[in-house]
Structure formats: C-alpha cells, structure tokens
Amino acid sequence: MFAGLLVVCFHVAIELVSWTTLGTPIGRAKLATVLAPMLGGGCAGLLVLLVFREASGSGVTHTKAAVYISDGYVPFSTVLGKFLGCATSIGTGNSLGPEDPALQMGAGVASLLGRTFALSKDHLRLIAPVGAAAGIAAAFNTPITAVLFVIEEVIASWNASVLGSIVLSAVSAVVVSRWFLGDDPLFRVPAFELTHPSELLVYALVGLAGGLLGTLLVRVLGILRGRLSDTSTGARATQPFVAGAIVGLVGLVVPQVMGAGYPAIDSALHDEFPWQLLFGLALAKMAVTATCFAAGTPGGMFAPTLFIGAMLGGGVGSLAQLYWPVPTSGPSAYVLVGMGAFFAAVFRAPMTSIFMVFEVSASYVIILPVMVANLIAYLVARTLHRVTFFEMVAAQDGLTLPSQEQQRESRPLRVEDAMSAVGDASMEGAALQNGGSPPVLYPDQSLDTAMRTFGDRSSLLVVSRKDPTKLLGVVTLANALKAYGVTSTTNVEGMPTAR
C-alpha cells in the first residue's frame, strides 16, 4: 500500500510538472520545448549527482544490488532522490520512463518498513523485491507483469515463500493505483483479429527487427554510457543539460518522443501515423533515450523501450498492410507485438514480455504472434549480445551481480551426473554391503540434496523410482565432489580423496 500510494503521488507529480513546464503539445512554445527538458534534466541530474547519489542509474540494478550485496538495504534517500529527480526529468520531457524508478521506490519503501520492524537479514533481503513488485505493478497497472518481472529479473527464483508476498504486494499496489487513478488499462487497444496464418511470418519479421534494433540500442547505450560516465564530476554534471537540450531540439520536430511517450503509443495503436513516421519515431526515440540514459538523467528504460517497440512493430505492420499478399491485421496488433518483442530483446525477460502484452491488450488472440515474435527477438538479441542490459549497467556501475539469465538457464547437477553404474546388483545385497538400510537417492535428484544426505557416509545407493528395489548405481562423495569440479587432493580427515 505504501508503495502504491507513493507511485500514485509520483505519477501525479510527473503530470503536474509536465503541465506546468511544457503544457500540452498543441501550441507549445519552441523555447519551452528546448528549455524545459534541458533545465529539468539538468537539475534532476545535479540533484542525483550531488545530493542523492544512491538514486543514480537503473532502479532494477540497484534493487538487485540490495538483494545480493547489501542484505536488502535500500536507503530511504534513494526513494526521495528517485521521486524528485525522476518527476523533474520525466515531467519536463526527458525521454525516460517512470516504471524503473517506481520499482526502486517500492523496494526502498519495503526496505524501510523491514528495517522499522527489525526483520531478520534473510527477510529483509526478500522484502526489497516484494516492494519492487508493488512499485512496478502500480506504475504499469499490470500485476501479472510486475510479479513475473521481479521473479524473472530480480530474484530469478520461484521460491514459494516469497512468491506469495510478491503477488500480494503487486495486487494491493494495483488496487491502490486504480482507486486513485482509475482502472483504465495502460493503453486503449482497438479490436483486432488475425486474418491469415501467413501473417505469422510478418510477426516473425517484427521479432527479427526487434531483436536487431534491441541489440543495437543496448550496444549503443553500453558504449555511450561507458564513455560518458568515465569523465570528471563537472562534465557529468553538464551531461544531463546537454541531453535535455538534444531531447528538446528533437522534440521540435517530433514532439512525440518527449517524456515517457505513452500518448504516442496510443496514437500508434489507433493507426494515426504512416509507416515512415513510425520508423522515424522509433529511431528518434532510440537516439534521445540512449542520450538521456547515458548522460545520467534520472529515469527508467521501460517506457522508451515500449515506445520504440510499438513504433517498430507499427511500422512493419503498416508496410505489411500495403505490400503483404494477403490481408493482414490492423496496426494495433503489430504495435503490441512490437512492444513485446523489443522488450524481450532489450531486457531479455521473455516471459514478462509475453504476459505484459497479454495483460495490456486483454486479448487472447495476440498470444501466438507475441510468442513467435518475442522468442525470435530474444534469441536474436542473445546471439548478438551475450551480456544483458542489466548486467551491462551493473558492470558499468561497478556492481558484481549474478546473471539472472544464466541463473535461470543453468542446469543443476543431478545425482546421475556423479553416479557409477553397477551391474545387476540386488538392492538387498548392496544394502548389506552399505551397512543395513541406508538412505537412498534417485538419479534425477539434485546433487545438492545428495551432498546433504551423505552425512558421515562415503557413498550412497541410487535406486530406480519405478522399482525402488532395483539398484542403479552408487554415488561416492569423491565422485560428487568431482562433479562439482573439485579435483584437489586435500584430504580432510575422514573424507575420501578426490582425484
């Protein structure tokens, strides 16, 4: 609830700042278009650089750092810094989004509550992701996406003890957000339908384009951010001003790229832009977002990613409508799929990207194209750029965090990996040799479990699940250690020597 209320205030603050400084796009003064993001971004950058240092960079990375490095500790100054800095920068039109800061603010509030109630270190470590889920759920108005993202990207585990808390916090934050801001979804999605199976090829193209462009964005960001952060404090203080000015100048030509860009996504969903403008907007948004993020302007990458993906998907969809040999769906379907594909490519969170599109569209029809496009985008991005966006940002910030992608995909060692097969030995005979009726293992059990089962034994019997009397093999402690890669001959007393 705390996180939900805070995110509502954050949302309101961004809009109030935006109305005060920029007004509405119609009749906006040119001077204000350039000066507002320049001064807003600059001041927000200074605030973060000089006062709230912990509030700089990516909220996701810092929340992960809180979980893995600082035992769940997120200073409350981070929450204040993110709130003030991001409301100022995003409200004045800098090309960044409010979701990533909202995630960190949620984590900060949860951490503060945990500390207030003197939770144990383990609980404190787990409460930050719970708050993060609440923050992002309230910002996106999508509870499922929030839960999946936190599980997929922050904790990389389906631990039942924390899952319940994450779901509960996400749901309560969304309830609070809807109470105050209304229950409108993030986007108004026009009705659409898939017209022909061959259209899946077009969606595959959207995935390919999303994968390529997503990789390009991450690479450009990596290079730019690396260079810009490796400068003096004075230079870093001026970068957000320059980035803001660039946003303002681009905004004179294409005002849609300013701020988070959700109204423009809505327009794309309603077929407002021709394909040339859609591609132009995608490229312009990439340029200004990379500039703002690399310059250290406070704000997140979620909204710009959705924007770029939406325009890219819409562009491909519009071209397909013109040139594909069979009739294709309306542009809204491609805009949605583009969002998901680009999100999957940039953040490498495929499950989140699929459910996010599903949740914002509330359409089951979209699932198949989204799965096709997201999978392709994800694989293309993975092949072309091994390091994920968050890993890259963490490394640039000097944080050593586990790779969630590797963690998700790493295969745990199993008993069968360390097992020595035996002939047709009977269970009874082997049990007698092994000292009566010892605990047994199954081949599919994890080696971690086996290690805990050894006790002071030097070997354990492995039996079939189908027929527990059938002996399949033996796992010795030496072989188990060997499977873990321990090859030293250090002889601990009473332990066998591995070779």
Partner: protein, 369 residues
C-alpha cells in the same frame, strides 16, 4: 515493554500510512480536476474549430482532450467523426471500433460507422450500421436524427443500386415523418415519386397540406404528385387553391394551363365514353401534328410522310365511336412525337402533350397481357 514498543511502532506506521493516504487523496483530486478541466478546454476548442471547418486542427484538439481524460466520450466520438470527415478512414475505424465496444447502441457512432463502411464499399455492413443507428440512442431530440439517418440510408441504397430496398425504407419514413415539417414531407414525396410510388407521395403531401393548408410550395408539390399519380382533376383543384393563395405565381398558372390541356386531351381518363375517347384521340393527333410542324427544330423531311398520314386520317370521315380508329390515331401521334425529340420543349403545350402521350403509353402497357 517490547510488546508496547511494537504496538507503538505499528501505530506509527498506520499513522504514516493514513497521512500518506490523505495526501495522495488530495493530490489525486487536484490532479483529476486539472485533467478534466484541461480536457474540457481542448474539447471546447475542438468543437469551435470543427464548426469553423478547421477539421484537422479540431481533431488535434480532440486528441489532446483524450490524452488528458480518456473518459471524454464526446471527444472520442467527435474525433472519430472528424477523422471520417477528413477521409482518414482507417484511423477513424479504430476509434469507432473502440466507441462501439463501449456504446454499441449509440446512434451517432453507428451512423458514423455506417458512413465509414459505405466509404469503404462494405455495403452490407453499412446497411446494418444504418439500421442500428436508426433504432439506436440519440442525444437530446430523438426523432429528427433518426429520420435524417433513414433518409441517408435511402440515399445510400439509391447510390448503391439497391432500388428494391428503397421503397420499404421510404414507406417506413412515411410513418415516421407524419409529424415532421412540410420540407421533410416534400423531400419524402419526391423520393416516393422517383421510386414510382406516386400514390404514397400524394398521401404524404395531402397529410402535410392538411397540417399547413396555406403552404403554397407544398400545394404545388401536391399537385405535381397528384398529376403523376393520374389524379389530374385533383391536381387542377390543388393548383387552383395554390393560385388563389398566391395569384402572382406565373409558374403555377403555366402548370394549370398544362393540366387544363391534359384534361381536355387525355383519352385515358376514367369514365370516358368511346365517342369521347375517339374524339380525344384525334384531337391529340391534331395537336401533335400542329406542334411538330410548327416547331422550327423538327426534321420536316422525316416528318413529311407521317404528316401526310395524319392529315389523311384527320380529314377522312369516320365513325364517331371507333376504338380501332382511336388507337391508330394515338399510335400515329406517338410516332410523330417520337420522330421530333427536338420539339419536346418546356412550353405548356409541349408539356401537356408529353403527359398525355405518357398516359397513353402507360394505359397501353396495362392493357397488354
């Protein structure tokens, strides 16, 4: 002690939560008011621009209103209709789709969708949406927009060549426009006459004339409908009434002249004896012969043999009541008339002859098995 401290802590957290709730409530209320006010301002500006014909600018204002407040139904509807007027059909369709999902029975939205479907050539969709619009919900005054929409449907059906579907819609209109003003009734009557339902047109106009007995244009229209329906004597009476009300109207006098002449010549009028029909048939032949021979534009060479036959027929002694002679005379008159299309001018004499010959053709058509 520890329990007391814990309770105090919980109370403090609850107090902070309550305070944050109050602050958020106030902020959200301010924010909502500001949003709605700004959105209304954009909507009003859009309306003004739309009225001045600046449709593109109006659509931008409507968009701005919707970006601020998605619940601005009127802005959304106006945007869709404006985009339709601008010819941005695909874009308009997405908005109409949105609107229809939320308000499937809204009249203006269904009419907009019908226009869009018509513009995209989706005839069956257009018809369905027009029907939904007619029976849908309309803001404020209920009757006029439904009638207008049905007129629009009739116009669409006529343009798309579905003539057989026009008359049922016109007959429904006949019921719906009973309390409408004379202009609407006259519009319907014209459509009925075009669709061959002259009797229905007469019915409509007589009803209207009963409501507005001193409306001269209406009476003139009624006379025309009566004449087209074959009620020539009624047409004469109606025209006389109109001339009494507005004696300076020369056009009405000309039309009366035409009708008088038709009444004097028409051999197909009911309750005529054979003697009279025969006499009238020969009068028609004489009048046609005189008209075409005195017409400068006529091809005299081509007409000469017909003229000779006509003179011979008119001068030959014959029985006073001869059906065959009457028929032959009328046939010859028709041939002469057809051979001189350049003489079908707007003079009362020519108009009267044209009507009489039309009536003769219609009667012959009816007589054929």
């Amino acid at each position: 002690m520890a329990r007391t401290a814990q309770s105090r802590l919980i109370a403090l957290v609850v107090a902070i939560l309550t305070a944050l709730f109050v602050v958020t409530t106030v902020l959200a209320a301010i924010h909502r008011d500001a949003r709605v006010t700004r959105a209304r301002r954009h909507f009003t500006a859009g309306r003004a621009l739309e009225l001045n014909g600046a449709l593109r600018e109006a659509s931008e204002e409507y968009r701005a209103a919707l970006a601020l407040d998605r619940d601005q139904f009127e802005a959304e509807r106006s945007l869709a209709l404006t985009l339709l007027s601008l010819g941005r059909l695909d874009e308009a369709e997405t908005w109409f789709g949105d609107l229809l999902r939320q308000h499937p029975t809204d009249g203006p939205i269904n009419r907009g969708m019908a226009r869009l479907a018509a513009a995209k050539g989706r005839e069956s969709d257009a018809r369905a949406y027009y029907q939904r619009a007619i029976y849908g919900q309309w803001p404020g005054e209920l009757v006029t927009p439904r009638i207008e929409t049905r007129f629009e449907l009739v116009d669409f059906l006529r343009r798309s060549g579905s003539k057989e579907d026009v008359l049922p819609e016109l007959l429904r209109l006949k019921v719906e426009v009973r309390d409408a003003d004379a202009v609407v009734q006259r519009r319907l009557a014209s459509l009925l006459i075009d669709s061959g339902a002259s009797e229905e047109a007469v019915d409509v106009l007589r009803h209207a004339a009963g409501q507005a007995p001193r409306d001269v244009p209406l009476l003139a229209h009624l006379a025309e409908a009566e004449s087209a329906a074959g009620h020539t004597r009624d047409a004469r009476a109606t025209l006389r009434r109109a001339i009494t009300l507005e004696p300076t109207r020369e056009d009405l006098r000309d039309r009366l002249t035409v009708i008088d002449r038709v009444l004097a010549l028409d051999p197909t009028l009911p309750r005529l004896r054979l003697v009279e029909r025969t006499r009238r048939a020969h009068r028609v032949l004489a009048a046609v012969a005189e008209h075409v021979m005195s017409c400068a534009a006529a091809d005299k060479g081509q007409l000469a043999p017909l003229q000779e036959r006509a003179s011979a027929r008119l001068t030959t002694r014959r029985s006073a009541a001869d059906a065959q002679a009457a028929e032959d005379a009328l046939q010859l008159a028709e041939q002469m008339w057809s051979a001189a299309p350049a003489c079908h001018d707007a003079t009362p004499a020519a108009q009267a002859l044209a009507r009489v010959l039309d009536a003769v053709a219609a009667a012959q058509e009816q007589e054929q098995p």
